[in-house]
């Protein structure tokens, strides 16, 4: 096949449907993969290449402006990247694969997923789109942790409440905090290092939620918050908002809609869980964490010292009238993600602009590190006898096999000094 010149320049508008060859590795920077790899049909469901010449001027707007009246090829969020073409032809013979090959192709899928994620992060960063949004790399996948959803209206209301209480600085601080967290998480995903990668992969694969101890908060109503069990089914439980999850993915993955926040490793904020005394804080955040969670609390109150664990419920930006400066509603808690120690739980919760609009936010950036370090030092090595045979094999092998990387740290004995 002839090599597609447009693809090499990164602007082939037929994408996968193109008749010409799209060599993998060429022009990868270009093609507008909507959502990057993995989005859309899985490869082996691809049917024939559609003849591009049938694209007349109108119906598909094939002729003119690509972006214009065109729900065009790449627009269909399907594959987009030309490199897919090569993959596609490889996977067409998936039926003939042996288990070894399947392993490899499975690995490819993961690779593609990760590539897609990196690409999405780049687009997200450069496009100026709304930052505080959840994200998932592929349709069936769950939300990736570390990206809590906040709608513009919620921020808008929060601003108005703060303005009514003459506390705009609070709002500004809180938003800056959120932005920082977002940036950190974005950076983390963009430059996937080994630990983030492992955590992400296990998160994406793990559909089963592990019961997490949650620190409920919610001043009055959240009955579901108990320290012992994670309110897995967030749908039935109005209170559980944010959950800490370990490296596993979202709780109640069945619904696929539960917010789960893995924490961002960088820019952790110290766990601040103030006591929720304010009655107005209704919704609360559930935290599950296994070790001491380090979460930053995003509180809008000035006076409160953030000590202890507190999270305030998100129930939105309540009416400003109910809130007064004395109420203490610690807002968000950001969990620390012990990236270094994969085994440790990752907890995070997002900031909640709590109801106490009066309280200025805390900028608790400096504190986290000592906390996390403590946690890491506790579990730096796993005992050799504790490891499963599989894990032991992985540690003893020359290289990790993708998909089989142990989540726990290696035993001290196997480390070559």
């Amino acid at each position: 096949m002839t090599i597609c010149q447009f693809f090499l320049q990164g602007r082939c508008r037929f994408g996968d449907r193109c008749w010409n060859e799209h060599p993998r590795g060429g022009g990868r920077s270009g093609p507008p993969a909507p959502g990057g790899g993995g989005w859309g049909a899985s490869n082996h469901r691809y049917t024939n290449v559609i003849q591009p010449s049938t694209f007349k001027s109108n119906a598909w707007g094939g002729s003119k402006d690509h972006g214009r009246g065109f729900f065009g090829s790449s627009d269909f969020g399907s594959l987009g990247s030309g490199s897919r073409n090569a993959d596609f032809s490889r996977n067409r013979f998936s039926a003939l694969m042996t288990s070894q090959n399947i392993d490899d192709s499975y690995k490819d899928e993961e690779e593609k997923l990760l590539e897609g994620i990196v690409k999405d992060m780049e687009i997200w960063e450069s496009s100026g789109q709304w930052m505080f949004s959840s994200y998932s790399p592929m349709k069936e996948k769950l939300n990736i942790s570390g990206f809590p959803d906040f709608s513009p209206e919620e921020l808008h209301l929060e601003y108005y409440n703060c303005r009514a209480n003459n506390n705009i600085q609070n709002y500004i601080n809180s938003v800056q905090q959120l932005v920082k967290q977002w940036k950190n998480r974005l950076l983390e995903l963009k430059t996937l290092n080994a630990s983030t990668r492992a955590a992400l992969l296990s998160e994406l694969k793990n559909a089963v939620s592990q019961p997490l101890p949650s620190f409920g908060f919610g001043g009055q109503q959240t009955s579901s918050f108990g320290l012992s069990s994670f309110p897995v089914n967030s749908s039935s439980n109005s209170a559980s908002n944010f959950s800490f999850k370990t490296s596993s993915s979202l709780v109640s993955a069945s619904s696929g809609n539960t917010p789960a926040f893995g924490s961002s490793s960088a820019g952790r904020d110290p766990p601040v869980f103030g006591a929720m005394s304010s009655p107005s804080v209704s919704r609360s955040v559930g935290f599950g964490s296994q070790s001491a969670p380090s979460a930053a609390s995003f509180s809008f109150k000035t006076s409160e010292t953030t000590s202890g664990l507190g999270t305030s419920g998100f129930s939105g930006f309540g009416s400003s009238s109910a809130v007064n400066s004395s109420s203490t509603t610690p807002l968000t808690a950001f969990g620390a993600f012990n990236a270094a120690v994969a085994a440790s739980p990752s907890c995070s919760s997002s900031t909640l602009f709590g109801q106490t609009a009066s309280a200025p936010g805390h900028n608790v950036t400096s504190a986290p590190s000592p906390v996390t370090n403590n946690i890491t030092s506790e579990k730096l090595f796993t005992l050799k006898m504790e490891l499963s045979a599989e894990e032991l094999k992985q540690f003893e092998a020359k290289k990790f096999t993708m998909g089989k990387i142990p989540l726990r740290p290696p035993p001290l004995e196997l480390l070559n000094v």
Binding site: G10, R11, S29, P31, P32, P34, G40, R45, I50, T54, F55, N58, A59, W60, G61, G67, R68, G69, F70, F71, S73, D75, F76, G77, S78, L79, I123, S127, Q129, W130, S134, Y135, S136, P137, K139, E140, N143, D149, S151, P152, E153, E154, H156, L157, Y160, I168, Y171, I172, S235, N237, S238, G256, N257, T258, P259, R283, G316, F317, S319, S321
Partner: protein, 381 residues
């Protein structure tokens, strides 16, 4: 200049009586400006149902008020009345007989406004701001459905202070739409649930979101026999997903398309991506309109999978849109939607509501190329 009528020319009239002067780009499309627009960002627009003669428009705003205008055939808009909440109004809708307007507000309540007596009473209470409100008219019951950030969906008989029914949502309700007997609710964390409303509202299906980012707006569309058959879902990432509930071939029939982005085809330069703030379906043609944070509106034909028109760029985001009952008028509101945070909020900036003749521009395209579409369609849905 006649606004509604097939032969009206639009071109010249359009501009407001304020007279557009210099390089003012607030109305590049030269559409009719509604008089006495709200003083703060407009969150919702709704036209009166066909049962009411004439056209009445209500708009809820962040100035805590909801206003009502009469829109006459010659394009003139007459402010009729307004009601206040104690917090910004997030959504509003009409009852099926056109006598009542329901409004949902950040003050955690919803009110029923009787237009004849100009009295408004509270009919609903939530624990958090009420984001969506819709009137449900079923053969055997009628009620008001409210969706709130307290993660519940409540159904209210307006005569009783307790809800008829409460359904739990997985997360905060961000947007909803009702076309009997179907209701679609999109929540935070990419949640998406469809309800069936016959006999009594019950959850029909939880759907995996076809979009990767935060859901922002949803609108149900109908098939040729006027039955709701699917919905369009918009996200903050300049993308709309068309999703059928029971399509013959989900992989082919469901799709997403990009919209409200800068830079068109030039893929080497990063695009600016804007949120889709509202989606509305033309009641007659079945084509849809989307409005975005980029300050443009676009018309699309989802069956022909093609764009019909994109407007010029307004100097503010377009925060809401709606069609009137017969599809002759397309109303859109130009006001700041907080998409760039508080730094870009200018309380002095005027907010506008524009009215446009929608009879011609939203006619569907020729569907000759259906075969091509079917084969190429990718399952993003």
């Amino acid at each position: 200049m006649s606004l509604f009528g097939s032969t009206s020319g639009f071109g010249t009239g359009g501009t407001s009586m304020f007279g557009s002067t210099t390089a003012d780009n607030h109305n590049p499309m030269k559409d009719i400006e509604v008089t006495s627009p709200p003083d703060d960002s407009i969150s919702c627009l709704a036209f009166s149902p066909p049962t009411l003669p004439g056209n009445f428009l209500i708009a809820g705003s962040w100035a805590n008020d909801v206003r009502c205008w009469e829109v006459q055939d010659n394009g003139q808009t007459i402010p009729k009345a307004q009601q206040m909440h104690t917090g910004p109004v997030l959504d509003g809708c009409w009852s099926d007989d056109g006598s009542k307007v329901f409004t949902a507000s950040c003050d955690k309540t919803a009110k029923m406004w009787d237009l004849n007596s100009n009295q408004a009473i509270q009919i609903a209470q939530h624990d958090a701001p009420v984001k969506t409100i819709h009137w449900i008219k079923a053969p055997n019951y009628s009620c008001v459905m409210t969706g709130s950030w307290d993660k519940t969906l409540k159904f209210w008989d307006t005569r009783s202070p307790t809800p008829m029914m409460t359904l739990q949502l997985p997360e905060r309700c961000y947007c909803a739409d009702v076309v009997h007997p179907m209701a679609a609710v999109a929540t935070a964390e990419r949640g998406l649930i469809v309800y069936q409303l016959e006999n009594q509202p019950s959850e029909f299906r939880r759907i995996e979101s076809p979009l990767k980012h935060q859901h922002r707006c949803v609108a149900i569309f109908k098939d040729k026999v006027n039955k709701p058959t699917g919905f369009a879902l918009g996200s903050i990432e300049g993308r709309v997903a068309i999703h059928y509930i029971n399509p013959p071939n989900p992989a082919k029939d469901n799709f997403t398309f990009k919209c409200h982005r800068s830079n068109g085809t030039n893929t080497s330069v990063p695009q600016d991506i804007y949120a889709v703030n509202g989606i509305a379906f033309h009641p007659v043609h079945g084509t849809l309109a989307t409005v975005g944070s980029d300050g443009r509106f676009s018309f699309w034909d989802k069956d022909a999978r093609t764009k019909l028109k994109t407007s010029e760029q307004l100097d503010q985001p377009i925060s809401a849109c709606c069609f009137n009952h017969n599809g002759n008028i397309f109303a859109y509101a130009s006001s700041y939607d907080w998409s760039k945070g508080h730094e870009f909020y200018n309380p002095q900036k005027k907010n506008y509501i524009f009215l446009r003749n929608a009879a011609e521009e939203l006619k569907p395209r020729n569907k000759k190329y259906n075969n091509v579409i079917a084969t190429t369609s990718l399952n993003l849905g």
